[in-house]
Symmetry: C2
């Protein structure tokens, strides 16, 4: 039994997960999906943690989505039994690892975005005596991966269906462009248009006698749009477990000012390391501790009148407005992370806290830089 | 002996270090410093690698700079014998670890930025029977950490000098604002003004009979300004080992268009994972693989007419201009990293390559998320 550690004993910057808020988020999404009769397959790219994946499965998730082969390997290693790899994989090394996973994980599904990828995958799988479950990746507007909806996607599905070592299971369609549209009504219009294309394509699959039992898609921003419209069979929600400033600012269905359907459970704990100036102090969390990609700074928890400004790789600037209390040297502050997924990617672990008490820590797996076989680790 | 691995066998996205370019950078900085009679203490916050630190020491560096206690611990663990911690540390847990290091590392030096920090450090060190070497952190314009130049810094130095368990060794002054000023002459003016304040403060230390044998400062952008002006005794150069787009665009003394004093040795290797559209393809390196904080995208190596655009957490967009050859599905591209320090912080390892051959890999240590003692790792 580990000793009781207080949150104030943690080395900063630290990512801390407020378990009360986290558990509420986990339960709320699960209850919502149960109520509307939708499955959900939470996205592990957000948390990169088998421990969190397990909580999501315990709450009723049909499986876990992942964005990389390394994430899939980490989830498989931890005994997760249903994994969907949402990014297309084309290189021989990655395809080989994908087929390894397919042979081991009870239900492994891979998104396929092109005929060439499908052929390579079937060829390699056939040589290994494995059949790989496949979703056709449909590009509903992002233009990042997959085939265009309608005829091009149908054609890819027919190709997949003909390939001996692939088993078509349906469609994956992710509308990243819809997920962060500000204002619920505008977001609804955008998402219904995008995901409507996937639903139409699904009808074409069915009319052609193809298996399309799965339509996997949606996001934390559109969970109550795509599911209510019956556009997906399973929601690929990711950020809802943690939340971040980037999502909070899009506004919700009930609260147009703040998207508060889910609670900001993931915070960065930081320490004031310099207090030499009037009206501002320096903290030890900069762009190596908080991803700045979303264009919004982190927000302070429970400290009205204080704001954060980017201040380099190692530091952040905290400014006080009017007569707000300026923190002192050594004080600790909690920040709502600006964008959760790439922030998590910078850390080795997340601390689990209940109130002021640290209940444990969880490892973050599969950041960038997979270890290649045959390469010696020199130091 | 590990098997020979080709660069094309590596899983992407991968950080690759071109050893020929890296060795040229290491040698060039070392030769330059020798020629002008300046010491150099390269900044380990850039690479977080004891292996690279060792190459720098072998080339003549007086020691290694680090930005965090965890980096210092990793360097000490690898047997590095002279370490300067450039960021002020104030919390009890970090101070305790700092004192541990001070007792173990033959020459350990800590930057101190305030009277309170100095007192806490001396108090704890005294109780442990350790004397800690100290540089007074002088704020020459960044406003991030340290005391203002002149009287405030002198006063802090006098306080440090009076404290029983601290040993004053000199000044640290980092001008982050100077490092990236575009245009050599403008950069020179900015840096001479900033670092001139540190040099004046050093004279005040000397006149007051205080030890100021070290003035540590400077950056890759100002190495040939601060040293030639005799403003520092040791250069805290970091990025020169890797280089990045953010530095290349500032222009050099000889070449105003491109800062090419050092070669872009650190690349991100990425794979085309989707090629469904005219004039553009998608690669598997996004903001989780390349830090976007500097406001510049990565640049392609050896592929004229192609450019990179940010395309989310997992992906990048490659666009072809005019009749430039568009890469095909499965093709690999090399990208010059936009900003090296926070990019390295996202990876578990860096591959060392010579031409197309992978010679090994090195671990990246001490990303964010230090493990706290007494906290159980649950998964």
């Amino acid at each position: 039994m580990a000793a009781t550690v207080d949150i104030n004993d943690l080395p900063t910057p630290a990512l801390i997960l407020d378990l009360d808020a986290f558990e509420q988020n986990i339960a709320k999404m699960a209850q919502y999906c149960k109520q509307v009769g939708s499955g959900f397959r939470p996205h592990g790219k957000t948390h990169k943690s088998a421990w969190i994946a397990r909580q999501q499965l315990n709450a009723g998730a049909v499986g876990i989505s992942v964005a990389t082969v390394a994430e899939a390997e980490a989830m498989a290693q931890a005994g997760i039994e249903s994994i969907l790899l949402t990014s297309p994989v084309v290189g021989p090394e990655k395809l080989d690892r994908l087929i390894n996973l397919s042979g081991k994980v009870p239900e492994f599904i891979a998104a396929v975005g092109s005929k060439l990828q499908a052929e390579r995958l079937s060829d390699l799988a056939g040589r290994r005596g494995v059949t790989v479950n496949v979703l056709v990746d449909v590009d509903v507007g992002d233009g990042r991966t997959g085939e265009l909806p309608g005829q091009p996607a149908l054609q890819l599905a027919q190709n997949v269906d003909r390939l001996p070592s692939l088993r078509l299971r349906g469609i994956q369609a992710y509308s990243g462009l819809s997920s962060h549209v500000v204002g619920f009504e505008a977001r609804k219009r955008t998402s219904l248009e995008a995901m409507g294309k996937a639903a139409e394509t699904r009808e074409m699959f069915k009319s052609s006698g193809l298996d399309c039992s799965i339509l996997s898609g949606g996001s934390t921003g559109t969970y109550n749009i795509d599911s209510e419209a019956g556009l997906v069979t399973e929601l690929q929600v990711g950020s809802y477990v943690f939340m971040d400033v980037d999502y909070r600012r899009i506004g919700g269905k009930e609260n147009p000012q703040l998207y508060d359907d889910f609670l900001p459970a993931l915070n960065c704990l930081t320490t004031v390391v310099s207090a030499a100036h009037k009206g501002r102090v320096t903290v030890d969390a900069g762009v190596k501790a908080l991803s700045s990609d979303a264009g919004c700074p982190p927000e302070l928890v429970g400290r009205a009148g204080l704001s954060y400004k980017w201040f380099g790789d190692e530091f952040g600037l905290i400014e006080a407005e009017g007569d707000a209390d300026l923190p002192k040297l050594g004080d600790r502050l909690r920040l709502i992370v600006p964008h959760c997924d790439p922030t998590v990617n910078m850390y080795d672990l997340i601390y689990l806290v209940r109130g002021e008490r640290v209940e444990g820590a969880i490892r973050i797996c599969a950041r960038r830089g997979d270890q290649a076989s045959g390469v010696e680790l020199l130091a």
